[in-house]
Symmetry: C2
Subunit: 210 residues, 2 copies
Amino acid sequence: MKKGAETRTRILDVAEAAVLQKGFGGTSIEELIAETGITKSGFFYHFRDKNELAKALLNRYIENDERIYDEIFSRARELTDDPLQSFLLGLKLLSELLADLPNGHPGCLVATVCYYERIFDREIQETNRNAVLAWRRRFGQMFAEIMAVYTPREPLEVDQLADMVSTVLEGGIVLSKALKEPNSLAEQILVLRSFVKLLFQPQAGATYRQ
Amino acid sequence: MKKGAETRTRILDVAEAAVLQKGFGGTSIEELIAETGITKSGFFYHFRDKNELAKALLNRYIENDERIYDEIFSRARELTDDPLQSFLLGLKLLSELLADLPNGHPGCLVATVCYYERIFDREIQETNRNAVLAWRRRFGQMFAEIMAVYTPREPLEVDQLADMVSTVLEGGIVLSKALKEPNSLAEQILVLRSFVKLLFQPQAGATYRQ
DNA sequence: CTGAAAACTGTACCGGCGGTACAGGAGGGA
DNA sequence: TCCCTCCTGTACCGCCGGTACAGTTTTCAG
C-alpha cells in the first residue's frame, strides 16, 4: 500500500521533469525506468500504458497547480478586504514566487498536452479543457467581486479578463522558455498587474490608493 | 531544380500540420512519406534527419510569421499617421484575421519547439530564441514610437510591453487549443488592445479619440 | 539530341522503443 | 499459513528512425 504509492510518486516525479523538457513523444519509458531504478515490468504494473501515465501526470499537475493558487490568493485575501487590492497583491505574490524559481518555470503540462493532443484520448483532452475552465471560474470570480465595487474604464467581460490571467501565464512560460530568460514570466505578470490596476483606477479627480 | 523544391515544400506542408497537432515526437517520418506519396529514401534525400526537418520547418514558419506581421502593421500604418492609432488598428486587424481562421489557429511552432527543446541541437534553440527577440524588436519599435507622442499612465518598459504582445499571442493560442474555442485567441488580443488603449489614454479632462 | 546532374525508388538491414505475456519471488498483514 | 501487493526476469513482437547503397527516372543546359 505505502510502498506502491511511493514508487508511483517517484515515477511521476521523474516523468514530469522529463515530459516538460522533451514532451511526451520525446520521453521514453526506458529512460524513466532507468532513472527511477525500476524494471519495465514494474513500470507497467503501475501504469497500463503511456496514456495512463499522461493521465496521472496531468491530474497530479492540475491538483498541485490549484493548491498553489488557493494558497497565494487566500493569503492575499487575508491581508486586505478590498477585492481589487487583494487581487493585485495576489498577482504580486505569484510574480515573486515565480521569480524565485532558480531555473525558471519548468513548463506547464496543460500546454504540453494541447500541443500533443491528437495522440491522447478524449478523457485527457477533456481534463485539460476543464483545468482551463477552472482557471476561468477562479479568476472570473475575483473579477466579478472587483466589478461589484469598481467600474472598469473599458467595457471588458469577466470571462475574457479571467482568461487573460491564464493567457499571460501560459504565454509568459513559453516566452521564458524560448528566450531562456527565467525572469520574463514574472515580469509579464507584473505588466498584467499594471493593466488591471489601470482598468479599475478611479477616474482622475478622485484619489486612488497606490 | 524546380521539382525538388516543390516536393520539399509538400513535405514541409504535411509535416507542419502534423507537428502542430502531435508535436515532433508524435509525428513519424513514415506517416509523412505516406501522406506525401514519397518513399523513405526520397525523404532522406531532402532531409538528412528529423532535426534538419525541424530546422527547415521552423525557419519557414518564422519567415511566414514575419511576413504576416509586416503586412498587417504596414497596412495599419497606411491608414493613420498616429503611432498609437496605427498600433491599435494593427491589433484589430490581427484579431480579425485570427477570428477568420475556420478551425482556429493551428498552433505556433515556436511554442512547440520550446516544449521539446532538449531533443534538438543548439542551432534550433537559438533560431527559436531569435524569433522571439525579433518580435520584441518589432513591437518594441512600435511602443517606442507611441511613447514619443503619448505618456503611459503606468511606468512600463518598452521591452516588457513588446513581450506582452508575444505573450498574449502564445498564451491565447494555448488557451484556444486547450479550450477548443477558436475565438478565444482573437478575443484575448482585443483585451490586450483595450489595455494598451487605456495605458496611453490622455488623463481625464482632456478629450480623447474613441 | 545528348549527357550529366538532380531527384528520386527499392531493398535490406540495424537498434531503440512501446507494449504484451507470463512465470515467479519477496514481504507483509489477516 | 495464505493471500495480496509489489515487484523482477525473460522472451518476444512490430513500428520507427536511420544507414547504406545500387539502380532508375526526370530535368535541363549545352
